[in-house]
């Protein structure tokens, strides 16, 4: 085995995807995520929630980082590791400052008739970890869901 000559990798190669910054691709991304989640061993309900979290992160990149410009690209990477599924959503748009992300107060929310601010909250409820980082002109939103069923949404 070890003599076969090709490099030994410890895990599945990553699936990656570059999608135009248009919301018409959201449904496709959601289907793709559902499929990747199923391949990673998540059940249908969990796969549906993961699809929603990735939809939200992609929507944010289109709406906020690219301010709706339709001719940019959003990169997605799916990394199926032994213990977790990791999805990174990357854009080259305006800087995200995670400290700007509001925490959600539903009562205030309704009173003020706000219609935004739920996406990040939802991602955090669904995933085990949601992090944002800026790396050489790119915003990377990293979503992690553990496979053991501990943590995250019911």
């Amino acid at each position: 085995m070890s003599g076969s000559g090709r490099p030994v990798r410890s895990r599945q190669p990553t699936l990656s995807l570059a999608v135009p910054s248009q919301t018409s691709y959201l449904a496709m991304i959601s289907e793709l995520t559902r499929h990747m989640a199923a391949l990673a061993g998540f059940d249908e309900a969990e796969a549906g929630r993961l699809a929603l979290a990735v939809d939200e992160a992609t929507t944010n990149a289109i709406k906020h980082a690219y301010a709706g410009a339709p001719d940019r690209l959003v990169q997605l990477r799916f990394d199926d590791r032994r213990d977790e599924l990791r999805v990174e959503i990357e854009d080259t748009g305006a800087t995200v400052d995670p400290r700007n992300m509001p925490s959600v107060d539903l009562d205030r929310y309704v009173k003020q008739r706000r219609t935004g601010g739920l996406g990040v909250h939802l991602m955090e409820k669904i995933m085990d970890s949601v992090t944002f980082r800026r790396v050489s002109g790119r915003n990377i939103c990293c979503l992690v869901k553990r496979k053991d069923g501990a943590g995250g949404a019911p």
Partner: protein, 120 residues
Amino acid sequence: MGELTVETRESGDVTLVYPAGFINAHTVRLFETEIQRALEQKRFKLVVNCASLSYIASAGLGALMGVIEEIRQNGGDLRLTNLNETVLNIFEILGFHHLYLIFSTEMEAIRSFRPAADPQ
């Protein structure tokens, strides 16, 4: 995949709204338009039947949040029925089930708007 259609029907003074497909940032405008159409006609008793709704992202939830206060200030309400497991789960995750009345069947939701004296 990814398309949304929204039909509406009237049952007395209750407006029934039937979104079918996905509500996400791409399709939410259509959903909002149908709700607004009812409000413009001063119809403030709404039942959103989600039987054919496979998916609702925060854009869609935001749309629900954006109209509920106006509806209630006008003596009406927006109530939901037939949520599938995924959609119900999203509502619960966000605590939306505390903000909206959710029924199992359309009939129950419609009846909930009728005066209690209504037979049966």
